[in-house]
Subunit: 357 residues, 2 copies
């Protein structure tokens, strides 16, 4: 048996108000007068208080507002990379991603594409990246995806939704400031938080589980419960830790059935990752029976109404397209069923599953 | 408020049998024909099965067996460093520490002293190290100290027991193979495990606590209970995770009263860290009242007999020497009492405490 040599984020700052230290962190990277930084920021913060707090040096840095209404795509990444390349013939000294999982994944992907040629679609998969990325920093403003801890940058590409999975994808630095996640709308807060809760369930119920992943997943799940069930007074800090620990857990194990189904929904119907996961989880009673009551209880507690009968009347070809994407997620199904997953993950099984969504 | 930018071990392998991957990990560092590796190994493994599994290239590497009967000293570190320097005019490509906390700390210290001149005593303290260390790898063969995760290498120096605390001290790689910790004698297993349990208590009860440290300490404490109270079938793996997570917790907070007292005991009477901590904790009812029953219960469960009346009849000067060392641990007392610790940590209070030991 070969064990993963797990690359983690080597430097992290945690604390309410710690965003103020970004300028100092970047100062350590700026070594020459013409060194510049790329800021990739979710455009929901445009015109909001966070904008004026961005430590952008106007004379030299480049600020890219990104629209993550739709899931990030390889086309979007390649466009952003080109903008940076047109801005300067030099490489930036850092790429800073500020936002949710989608924005952080865009920042990771841009930092990789600046040093790896040929467009991001070429690198969708596992360990295809050749060269180290530009130094990159992740700063979550919504918590749950674990993108701050993970070795992937998930993108919708020409053929499927799949991440740039590599050790080089991992951030060099993260800043976890729970002040930044205040004010997220309830639905989004819930869906993104459930991404974390689902990571833990998939990790704990998966065949890839070891005591490393188990310890992280168990603690993250406990923190999720403090946030979503017990309404803990420190829930913003706790959710931030839950997200990080959930990310650490799946990074050393793998996600499972819910993510596989959610990827199909996202790719074909455009559902965002958080809500897509919740829609998927809600029909996975056979896979995660012990967790369904808790999941539905949390939805009820927070008055979450999931869209109903989404797939019931869709044309067969649309269902088939989703089944194809979902079925292609080999490592995820291997985590669910072990090596013999291909016998179990049939078109028929998946078609039935999608029809119930 | 300024938050710590926390340096963590960037690469880790976890799993039963993962020690076998050390050779491959080192291969990535060996780039030229004359590149060499320094192995710093606890001499309890000499002549034991682990010796034959060490991936030492006989033609070029250097294997240093170390005796950790006594706590590691600055003199010992400087001697080992000199041995390496006499062995080759080049720097090694990696220093591998294999053993418990003492051995791992020796390896960390040697990797630092190869690139920082003037002897290790000069660097006892916080952030005094100037240059990055040689690449260094930690492999625990006894679990609990958290040395695999920490930014310190604790040494007894000419004036006191104090660590080389710096970001450069942190290992570049750790390998956590629970097979290696099987066969540790019960007393040592218990005392070293309690070091971890005590880290968690000191972290959770300290003024430096944040939700990052809390999450790690709570989970580590839970794992300790599974190991020492519930006798979990996976207790070796769980203890290994507990140690790592306890180390992560204190690295972002601080140890407390028990470590301060234990440092005094170690420096003056030579008590090893694990047993010293247990002896100290046993008189700290005022500091950690909620944890005393659990601590004494675990001692009883494992038939641990602590030495009694150690300090009762010692000369006043000996007690005064221990009080001096213990009192000098400013950051630890600040974690116990906050900024006003100097009002509370008096010679009188500490003298009384030591006399009860």
């Amino acid at each position: 048996m070969k064990f993963k040599n797990f690359q983690v984020v080597p430097k992290m700052i945690f604390g309410r108000g710690s965003f103020a230290q970004l300028d100092e962190v970047l100062a350590a990277e700026r070594k020459h007068a013409d060194d510049f930084v790329v800021f990739v920021v979710d455009n929901v913060h445009q015109g909001k208080p966070l904008e004026s707090r961005l430590p952008v040096k106007k004379a030299q840095d480049i600020l890219l507002w990104v629209d993550v209404t739709d899931e990030p795509t390889t086309v979007q990444v390649d466009g952003l990379t080109e903008q940076v390349q047109q801005f300067s013939h030099k490489l930036p000294v850092s790429v800073v991603g500020i936002g949710g999982g989608a924005t952080m994944d865009l920042a990771k992907a841009v930092s990789l594409m600046l040093t790896n040629e040929g467009g991001s679609a070429k690198y969708q998969g596992w360990d295809l990246i050749k060269n180290p990325a530009v130094h990159h920093i992740g700063i979550p403003t919504i918590s749950g995806t674990g993108a701050e801890a993970s070795r992937t940058a998930v993108l919708c590409g020409p053929e499927r939704k799949l991440g740039l999975n590599s050790d080089y994808t991992v951030f060099n630095q993260i800043i976890m400031d729970s002040e930044l996640i205040a004010g997220v709308p309830t639905d989004q807060w819930f869906y993104t938080g459930m991404d974390c809760w689902i990571h833990c369930v998939e990790s704990l119920e998966g065949t890839f589980l070891n005591e490393f992943s188990r310890a992280y997943a168990e603690k993250s799940l406990e923190l999720c419960r403090e946030v979503f069930i017990e309404n803990d007074p420190n829930k913003d800090d706790k959710l931030m830790m839950a997200s990080f620990m959930g990310g650490m857990s799946i990074a050393y194990s793998q996600v499972g059935a819910c993510h596989a189904v959610s990827y199909g929904l996202a790719y074909v119907l455009g559902y965002h990752h958080g809500i897509g996961n919740c829609i998927a989880f809600n029909v996975l009673d056979e896979f995660y029976p012990e967790y369904m009551d808790e999941f539905r209880g949390m939805m009820k507690q927070h008055n979450i109404q999931l869209p109903q009968n989404i797939c019931k009347d869709l044309p067969d070809e649309t269902i088939a397209a989703m089944v194809k994407v979902t079925k292609s997620m080999g490592p995820l199904w291997a985590n669910v069923y072990g090596d013999s997953w291909q016998e179990k993950v049939t078109d028929e099984m998946l078609t039935k599953l999608f029809r119930r969504i």
